[in-house]
Symmetry: C2
Subunit: 244 residues, 2 copies
DNA sequence: CGAACTATTGATGCGTTTCAAGACGCGTGG
DNA sequence: CCACGCGTCTTGAAACGCATCAATAGTTCG
C-alpha cells in the first residue's frame, strides 16, 4: 500500500531518488474505489482533480452530437489520468471505469509543486504525455488508412501488451474485458462488424477465442498485418535532467 | 529577429519574466530555411534535434506498409516540433514543409536545461503537448464517427483558426495551401471524394471557393455540422507555478 | 427465473473507393 | 513565345467494404 504506482512505472525507465519517491507517494495518499461502468469525470464537468490509476482498467471517450461514442484511450495501473481536463474550464473527455478500479485523486496544485521541485519528474510526465500522443497518432493512422480487420487486430495487440499478461507461448490467452460494442467504439466500427472481424481473425489462425478470453496465436503475422508498434518500448531517456 | 516565436505564443496565456524570455530566445538562436516539399526529419531517422517553427506551414505524417499516407498534424509558427522523436531511438513520424519555412533547431540538452531552470516553462511545454493531444483526439473522433463531409469541414475550420487569418465578415477567404490529396490524407479520404465534399459544402453555402482560396461562409453552421472545437481557446492556467 | 445486456448470423443498402478520362494551370526548355 | 509535360482538379460509372436492420441464441445478474 505504501509504494506509488506511478513511481513503479517510471522505475522501468529511470532510477528514482528517495526524494522523488516521496513526492510521488504524496500524490497517491488518498484512495477511491470505483465500480465498473461508473464515471470518474464527465465531459463538460469542471475538472479540478487529477488521478493516478492504481488498479483496474478505465477508458476515456467522447459522445458526439448524434449520440455516437468514440473511445479515445484505455488506461491501466500506473497511468496518470485527467491531465487534459485541468487545462480547460470544461473537461473535454469522459473518464469511465471498465472494471472495479482504485484511483488516487490529487489536486492541480500537487502537479504544480511537483513540477517546481522535481524537474526530472516534470520531464517524465512530459515524456508520458508524448508517448500517449504517439499512441494516439498510431490509432489515427489506423482509423484513417487501414481495414476493419487491421484495426481490431492492432487493438487486441495493444490491450494484451498494456495489460502485461504474458500469454506468449502457452497461448492460454487473456481476458480483454471489453464488449464487442466497446471494441467497435474504439476502432470506429459497429459491434456487428467487430464480431465478423473477430471470427475472420480466428478462422485465419491469428487469434484464438474461448468465451471472453482471447489469445494471440500468430503474433508476428498479426503485427505485420496491422502496423502495430508498442510505444512503451525502445525509449531513449538519456537526455533527462538529473534527479533531486 | 530578436524575439522568440514560441515566447510570443506563450505570451497569449501567461506573462513571461525577463529570464524566461532570454531562455526561450536561446532556443531560437540558429535559423534554417526549408523549401516546400523538403523533409525536416524522416520516420526511422535518429532524431536528436528539436525545432521551433518560425515561419511557414509544415506537417507530420506516417507512411504505412502498403504505401498509404496518414497526415497526423499541421504545424504553424510558434509550434515546437519533434518532441516525440527525442523519446525514441527512431523517429516515429516524418516532418515535412508545406511551404517555404524557417525553423530554429536546438539540441535535446537545451530542453533538459530549460526544464531544470524554468519550471513554469516546463509546465507550459507540458500544457502545449496536452493541447495537441486533445486536438488529436478530436480528429480521432472525427475519423471514427463522422461523415466525410464533416471531416473535411472541421479540417477547414482548424486550418483557418490556426493560420489566424481573419476572414470573418468580409468573406474574402484564406489560402489553405494544401492539395486535395493532402486534405484526403489528413481526413482518411481519397482526393476524389474530398473534391466532391468540397463541392457539396460549396453548394450548401457553407464555404466559398475561388481557385485555391477558401472562405468560411456559414461558420456557425459548419461548426454545428462538424463538432469542431478550437482547443487553443478557453484555457485555464491559473494553477501554473510562478515564473522565475 | 426473468429481464437486460451481449454475441451471432443473414439480407439489404449506402457511403466511399476505385478506375477512367478530360480539363485546367504552371513551370521549363527549346 | 510557344509547346510540352506534369501535377492538380473535376466528373462519371462501377465495385466494394462496412453499416443498418432484423431475428435468434447465449450470458449475467438481481
Amino acid at each position: 500500500m505504501a509504494g506509488s504506482c506511478f513511481a513503479e512505472v517510471l522505475s522501468e525507465h529511470i532510477t528514482l531518488t528517495e526524494h522523488e519517491r516521496e513526492a510521488l507517494a504524496r500524490l497517491e495518499e488518498r484512495n477511491r474505489t470505483v465500480k465498473r461502468g461508473s464515471v470518474l469525470r464527465r465531459s463538460h464537468d469542471t475538472g479540478n482533480e487529477l488521478f493516478v490509476l492504481r488498479k483496474g482498467m478505465m477508458m476515456t471517450y467522447v459522445i458526439l452530437d448524434d449520440g455516437a461514442r468514440q473511445i479515445l484511450r484505455f488506461h491501466f495501473p500506473g497511468d496518470m489520468l485527467g491531465l487534459s481536463a485541468i487545462l480547460y474550464e470544461e473537461a473535454p473527455e469522459t473518464i469511465c471505469a471498465l472494471s472495479e478500479c482504485v484511483v488516487c485523486p490529487f489536486e492541480k496544485s500537487g502537479l504544480s509543486e511537483l513540477v517546481e521541485t522535481h524537474p526530472r519528474l516534470a520531464a517524465m510526465i512530459l515524456v508520458y504525455g508524448q508517448i500517449e500522443r504517439v499512441a494516439l497518432t498510431d490509432r489515427l493512422a489506423a482509423l484513417g488508412r487501414t481495414s476493419a480487420k487491421a484495426r481490431v487486430g492492432s487493438l487486441l495487440l495493444e490491450l494484451r501488451n498494456r495489460q502485461r499478461t504474458d500469454d506468449s507461448g502457452t497461448g492460454n490467452g487473456f481476458m480483454l474485458g471489453l464488449t464487442q460494442e466497446e471494441i467497435g467504439d474504439a476502432t470506429g466500427l459497429t459491434a456487428v462488424h467487430v464480431n465478423r472481424m473477430l471470427r475472420q481473425l480466428e478462422e485465419e489462425g491469428m487469434i484464438g477465442r474461448d468465451g471472453t478470453k482471447v489469445a494471440i496465436r500468430d503474433e508476428a503475422g498479426l503485427m505485420a498485418a496491422t502496423n502495430y508498434v508498442d510505444r512503451y518500448q525502445g525509449l531513449d531517456l538519456s537526455w533527462l535532467p538529473k534527479g533531486r
